[in-house]
Structure formats: structure tokens, C-alpha cells
């Protein structure tokens, strides 16, 4: 219970946990970028994050941003194989702690110094599962994607995220399958060249 006797987010979380499927299912689903898995995780665990952010001077949009950040971290941890499904039965606790810590970082920033944080003691906990470099890596991944032009995004999104095959993408875009294969290769080589040039500049600078 918090100071006012209301149900704590942990209790809310415990309720949310009941709605999710088994850990193997959601971990596999996230590995495959499965939309229904992402939706079921959102449906089950967003309310707890929203409640925490609203109680701590945030808005619904803030809560959505924090949840999105936490989901990105969870997704990357799963992709890295860092998420031990035998120990952590459900992603709810992980998501909640990451979102909460990120919101606290924001609240503590200069723009939000006047805000009041309700759950002081629990909020001092660290997210032990969260490797230090994950934020940097997420930032880098976003920068990489930002360098792609629209045509590259269209093809790469469908192939790597939606996991469509070349023939399907070709049919959707009204071109030959070989053209899609070539576009994909060229786009990925542009990314590679961009990264190599950055690495070269850093090497020269040091």
C-alpha cells in the first residue's frame, strides 16, 4: 500500500500478469516480431505503467512514451538472448521497472524538477536486469534506421520486420522479385558503407 492506502503498482502488476500467455510464447513471439504478442503485452502491462506515470505527475502520452521505451528495451534484451525465461516468468515486472526508472530520470531532469514523486522508496531500486549499454545501443539502432531513405525503409521493413518473402514484397510493389533482392542488398550496403565511414572518421580522429 502507498501512503494513502491505495493499491500499489506491484499489486496492479500482479493482476496484469494473469492475462499474459506463457513465457515461452511471448519470448518466441517477440523474437518473431509477432504483432499479436506485442498487443497482448501492451494490453496486459500498459495499465500498470500508466497508473504509475499518472500518479507521478505524468500524462497518458508520457505513459505511452515510457511504455514504448520499456518495450524497446525488453525487445532488444530478448533478441540478445539476455532474457532468462526460466527465471523471469512474465515480462510485466521487467517492463514496469524499466518504465518507472525512465520516468524517474525524466522527472528528475531540469524541466520537471517541480514534480512530486509518490513512490519514493521503491523508485530507488535499480533495474538489475538492465545492462548498462542497452540505452546506447537503442540510440544507435534508431540513428541507423534514420539514415535510410523511404524506398529502403519500405523494402527492409517488409522483409526484416514483417518477415515477408521477396516474392510477396515484389507482388505488393508491382516489381520483379530480383529487383527487390537488389534493392535490399543495396540498402544494406549503404548502411554498411555509412557505418564504415563513421568508424573510419573515428579511427582518424583518435
Amino acid at each position: 500500500m502507498d501512503r494513502s492506502g491505495a493499491a500499489t503498482p506491484e499489486i496492479v502488476l500482479a493482476t496484469a500478469v494473469k492475462h499474459t500467455t506463457t513465457s515461452k510464447t511471448w519470448v518466441d513471439g517477440l523474437r518473431r516480431n509477432d504483432t499479436s504478442t506485442i498487443r497482448s503485452i501492451y494490453d496486459a502491462h500498459f495499465p500498470a505503467v500508466r497508473q504509475y506515470v499518472l500518479k507521478n505527475s505524468g500524462t497518458r502520452d508520457d505513459a505511452k512514451d515510457m511504455f514504448q521505451e520499456a518495450m524497446s528495451v525488453l525487445w532488444l534484451a530478448v533478441k540478445d538472448g539476455r532474457f532468462d525465461t526460466n527465471v523471469q516468468e512474465d515480462p510485466g515486472g521487467f517492463l514496469y521497472r524499466v518504465a518507472r526508472n525512465k520516468w524517474l530520470d525524466q522527472v528528475r531532469s531540469a524541466a520537471h524538477k517541480h514534480m512530486k514523486v509518490v513512490h519514493d522508496e521503491r523508485t530507488l531500486e535499480q533495474t538489475s536486469e538492465l545492462p548498462d549499454d542497452l540505452d546506447d545501443r537503442l540510440g544507435r539502432l534508431r540513428e541507423i534506421y534514420a539514415t535510410l531513405d523511404d524506398r529502403c525503409r519500405t523494402v527492409l521493413d517488409r522483409f526484416y520486420f514483417e518477415r515477408k518473402d521477396l516474392a510477396t514484397i515484389a507482388a505488393e510493389m508491382g516489381v520483379e522479385e530480383e529487383s527487390i533482392r537488389t534493392i535490399k542488398y543495396r540498402c544494406m550496403m549503404k548502411l554498411r558503407a555509412h557505418r564504415l565511414s563513421i568508424a573510419g572518421e573515428e579511427g582518424t580522429a583518435s
Binding site: 544507435r140 526484416y160 520486420f161
Partner: protein, 246 residues
């Protein structure tokens, strides 16, 4: 890492490895090759990162879409079929009516939920007088409340309460805002706070709200509710209890 171009075959082999599309034997041979080729290891790491960049953008888009879907439902529902013939429309309407009737019969909410829906109506709020006095923040939140911007109202009133400016009026309307957000536990807590103000003009209203929340949460608990005969809501409470017991 190789600084020259990467041929398409090697690129696609790495891609198949990263996406898990190699069979066991191919995978074993590829990993064996990697063990002796550091440049290949680095190429694999780089390509994996690029694929992750694309996938992450997709995940974020998905979450955005899901988060925004509440607002888009209405727009989606109005788009369909303006060019269809009236007869077709009638057939669709009849089919939809049948489906809805059956679905309603099978999925109709339990009695206590029906009673809650019947007896609960959002509080209209207080008249707003926007002056430059110390009540400005309260009035500003009241405007949000009356406009249905409940999260904003909750934030502003919670801030006022946290700054020691609590009152029975504030607690009551904070409870009402939480109730409209479907956050029953927080609403209950706020309505209980109203009871801590002796002689509050919101006492019976808060009591009625607590009655409705209890009805929704646990109809067995509300059955033993002690109805205050002096309450202007006493008749409504008795009606609910009567219908629950039938």
C-alpha cells in the same frame, strides 16, 4: 573488418544465419567458418545490428499503432460501403442485428454491472469561475474535468492535494475523475477522504459513489451495505439492493 565491398552471396549467407534461416548443417559450417575468420565475425555483428535497427523501428511503429488504436476505432467504423445498394444495406443490417442480438444474449454483462451502468452517471462538475485567485488551478482542473479530460484533471488536482491544499471538494472531484478513468482503487481512496471531513456537503455523494464502486467490484459486499435513511440517495440504494436480491 573488410573495408571493401561485401559480395551479395556473403551478405545473404550472413542474413540467413542472423535470421535463423539456415539448416543445421549449413549453420554448423558457417559457424566453423566464422571461428577462423574474424572479419566475418565482425560482418555478422554489423549486419545483425542493421537488421535489428529495422526491426526495432517496426516494433515501435506497432506499439504506436496499438496505443493509438483507441482513437482510430471510430474513424475506421465510418468508412465502409457508402456505394452499396439499399437492399444490400438492409441485408447487412439484418445480419448484424441478429449477430448482435445473439451476442448480447450470450455476452450480456452480469446484473451488478448492468445496475452500475444504469445508476452511474458522470458528475457534471461545478460551475467554473476563472479568476486570478488561489483557486485558479482548481478551476482550471475543473474545466478539464467538465471537458472529459480526466487524466489532466487528475494530475492537476493530485498536485494540489500533494501541496497540502486538500479539501472535501477536491477529494470528491478527484474521486469522480478517477472513476471516469476506471481506476476504482484510486477513486475509492479519494471518496473515503471526503468522509474524513465532518459535515461535508459531499458526504452523501461520496457515499453513493462508494456504494456504486462496491456494487461493481463485489455485489455480495454491497448486499450488506448500511443505507443511511437521511441520504438523498437512500431510495436509489434500496432499489439497487432490491433488484440484486430478486
Amino acid at each position: 573488418m573488410r573495408t571493401g565491398p561485401l559480395d551479395r552471396d556473403t551478405f545473404e549467407a550472413i542474413e540467413a544465419y542472423v535470421l535463423g534461416r539456415m539448416d543445421k548443417e549449413e549453420c554448423r559450417r558457417f559457424e566453423e567458418r566464422m571461428r577462423h575468420d574474424q572479419a566475418l565475425q565482425q560482418e555478422v555483428q554489423l549486419e545483425r545490428e542493421h537488421i535489428h535497427a529495422v526491426e526495432l523501428a517496426g516494433v515501435v511503429r506497432q506499439i504506436d499503432r496499438i496505443a493509438g488504436s483507441d482513437n482510430s476505432d471510430e474513424a475506421e467504423s465510418g468508412r465502409d460501403g457508402v456505394t452499396r445498394s439499399p437492399m444490400r444495406w438492409l441485408a447487412y443490417a439484418a445480419a448484424v442485428a441478429v449477430v448482435f442480438t445473439v451476442a448480447w444474449y450470450l455476452l450480456r454483462p452480469p446484473l451488478h454491472e448492468q445496475l452500475y451502468a444504469e445508476f452511474h452517471s458522470p458528475d457534471p462538475g461545478l460551475p467554473v469561475t476563472m479568476g486570478a485567485d488561489r483557486n485558479y488551478e482548481f478551476q482550471d482542473a475543473m474545466t478539464d474535468f467538465k471537458m472529459g479530460r480526466y487524466p489532466e484533471a487528475v494530475n492537476k488536482w493530485s498536485d494540489l492535494q500533494a501541496n497540502g491544499e486538500g479539501s472535501d471538494t477536491l477529494s470528491f472531484y478527484l474521486g469522480c475523475a478517477y472513476l471516469e478513468l476506471d481506476e476504482q482503487a484510486m477513486a475509492k481512496q479519494a471518496f473515503h477522504q471526503v468522509r474524513e471531513f465532518p459535515g461535508s456537503g459531499f458526504h452523501y455523494k461520496a457515499d453513493w459513489s462508494l456504494f456504486l464502486i462496491t456494487l461493481r467490484e463485489d455485489p455480495n459486499a454491497v448486499a450488506s451495505w448500511s443505507v443511511d435513511p437521511a441520504s438523498p440517495y437512500a431510495d436509489r440504494m434500496r432499489t439497487v439492493l432490491q433488484r440484486l436480491s430478486e
